[in-house]
Symmetry: C2
Subunit: 357 residues, 2 copies
């Protein structure tokens, strides 16, 4: 029997090992940058009035109602908005649509860990440029006649740092011949002054990505979006249609629209998280931590005397899950999601206990 030769045709890929997902409900989970608060109460109203018989029909192929709601909120046309199954799906679609050069795409060495994964999967040549000693990105490092594309997150993760609009403009001015993707996953937690959404009207090679998973408290519903000129969005829709005609389900579309239409709740939630971020950063600084100036819903912090890994493990034993990266340059830093005030107080108390403070 000749069987088993099929193994030679398996994809050559290193199976991803998922991060720790504690099963117990009895823990404080500050390790995935999820939102501390529930989504808009209008989501409950959608579930109450939803007719399950509608589930038998395919959803809108382009998540049309959600594109319309997002376009309206941003003062854009529906042709400028793309929606898909979480921002990972949006970003992967964009990589496939736009990064087809034999020149390498460029991204910072410390950033979202999925960029290199998609480059490997889609066989996109890439190179990384180091962020500075202060973890800020050097705009000049992203300049290039030789770039096949550029992607960076602003604010960046896990550093929590934002670059200015002038920075983004500078990068765009020096990359007119390739697509520049600015991943604005965390932008709602930053100063309004850094949002570059309006620049899509000025730069036809700019794509902005965003997600419902952080500021909109809907990680569980898998919704991500992108903004760009109509031609870019048309190509993303074509890639989407060639892979999966209907990537966003009916309840994600409907609950997503409800969230977008509740601006007041959205702003209130952002304010609460920003306030807690401020008080938590001060508390950590009071304990001797270096805390980077966060524009996100998490803090990136290190202590000069205590090892990050030791703090991480101590907190985990106490049922408090934060994030530690065993990677060059950042292996003495902790990434701490902003939870409720009460969760943060419990975490600070445990860190004090660890330090014997």
């Amino acid at each position: 029997m000749s069987g088993q030769l099929w193994r030679k045709n398996l994809i050559n890929i290193t199976p991803y090992v998922a991060g720790e997902q504690p099963k117990s409900d009895d823990i404080i989970k500050l390790n995935a940058n999820e939102n501390a608060y529930p989504p808009s109460p209008r989501v409950r109203e959608i579930l109450d009035s939803y007719k399950p018989e509608d589930m038998r029909r395919y959803p809108s192929a382009d998540a049309g109602p959600l594109r319309e709601a997002l376009a309206k909120r941003a003062g854009l046309s529906v042709e400028n908005v793309f929606v898909s199954n979480g921002s990972d799906d949006v970003l992967a679609t964009a990589f496939r649509a736009f990064f087809n050069s034999d020149k390498p795409i460029v991204y910072p060495d410390i950033t979202y860990s999925f960029y290199p994964v998609w480059c490997e999967l889609l066989k996109i040549p890439s190179r990384t440029v180091p962020v500075g000693e202060d973890f800020h990105i050097d705009a000049k490092s992203l300049y290039g006649e030789g770039n096949g594309g550029v992607v960076f997150a602003n604010p960046n993760a896990p550093t929590s740092l934002a670059e200015s609009r002038e920075f983004v403009r500078d990068v765009l001015e020096h990359n007119r011949d390739c697509i520049v993707i600015v991943d604005q996953t965390y932008v709602d937690f930053a100063d309004k002054g850094i949002d570059c959404l309006d620049m899509i009207n000025e730069y036809d090679n700019l794509l902005i990505t965003h997600t419902f998973s952080k500021s909109r408290s809907m990680a569980g519903m898998r919704i991500g979006e992108a903004y760009g000129n109509a031609e870019l969005i048309k190509y993303m829709l074509a890639v989407k249609d060639s892979y999966n005609s209907y990537p966003v389900n009916r309840l994600s579309i409907e609950t997503g629209v409800a969230s977008v239409q509740d601006e007041e709740y959205f702003q209130d939630t952002l304010k609460k998280i920003i306030n807690t971020r401020q008080s938590t950063a001060e508390a950590l600084k009071g304990l001797g931590f270096e805390v980077l100036d966060s524009s996100t819903n998490f803090l990136f912090a290190a202590h000069p005397k205590f090892g990050a890994k030791d703090i991480f493990e101590y907190l985990r034993d106490k049922g408090i899950y934060i994030r530690y990266f065993n990677k060059p340059r950042i292996d003495n830093y902790l990434r701490i999601t902003i939870g409720t005030d009460d969760e943060m107080s419990q975490m600070i108390a445990q860190i004090k206990a660890f330090m014997g403070a």
Copy 2:
């Protein structure tokens, strides 16, 4: 200004033109093989008891609870089941995981129209083999030392025809060195005797795909699944993880589990559709149609005297949407989704009016 050169890096792809999706609620929609009946009433209970605050958390990365429910129903282990964002996503994941040979994959010329699209997108060499004059697939045409993989739908679409278990076994016995994907999208509407799910224990190169969009009335929730040996499933999970860690949202997981656990409602719905299929086929035959022997929730039918396109257009003008394919070999056939008895009666009445019968 050197701008616009970014266009040279756009993906070379023909934007898909979506099928007609009538906007009005006042039509009879028999053109997408959606289910005529709502999903299990337990879905309503899930929506009633669901806590929106859970949406702020990422879902189970592998849709774990749904894998477990499906495995339990099938008498398999959870390691044998993969779940993702609709069967299109499942099939595309399988193509990427398993079809990495430089030899062509093989599929019938008349079948699901997405197979060639994925081959183009993923740069997989392929060849088609013609189905017979009777639209049945010739097992010998799928034999091959030279195959990089095999994929076919059983029952097939748009023909509605099923092949036997012996047929599937024959194809597997002659393709021990590549992966064989059997797309069982419509299997629940067929005789129990053609389901090959149990064969995954016998053939380690067999992958069976399936969906919640047809028999489970949940096209709107985007759930598809695959069954295979643990090694195949492990590779599919690795591809999934390299693209999108969380492809299935929380409400699809929970409502999907509710559906799987309601076997009685599932079987009742299937029976109703099979009965309506029988009466509709008889009515069409009474009007002189040739109707293929359907094992699906649709009929594939042609009339010796009246053109399919003319019937299609007449019905569309009357607000009844069925499917017509302007493609070689099948351009005199109509694909008619089985709706409720009342919908079928209205359709038959309009066909009679068209024929002047």
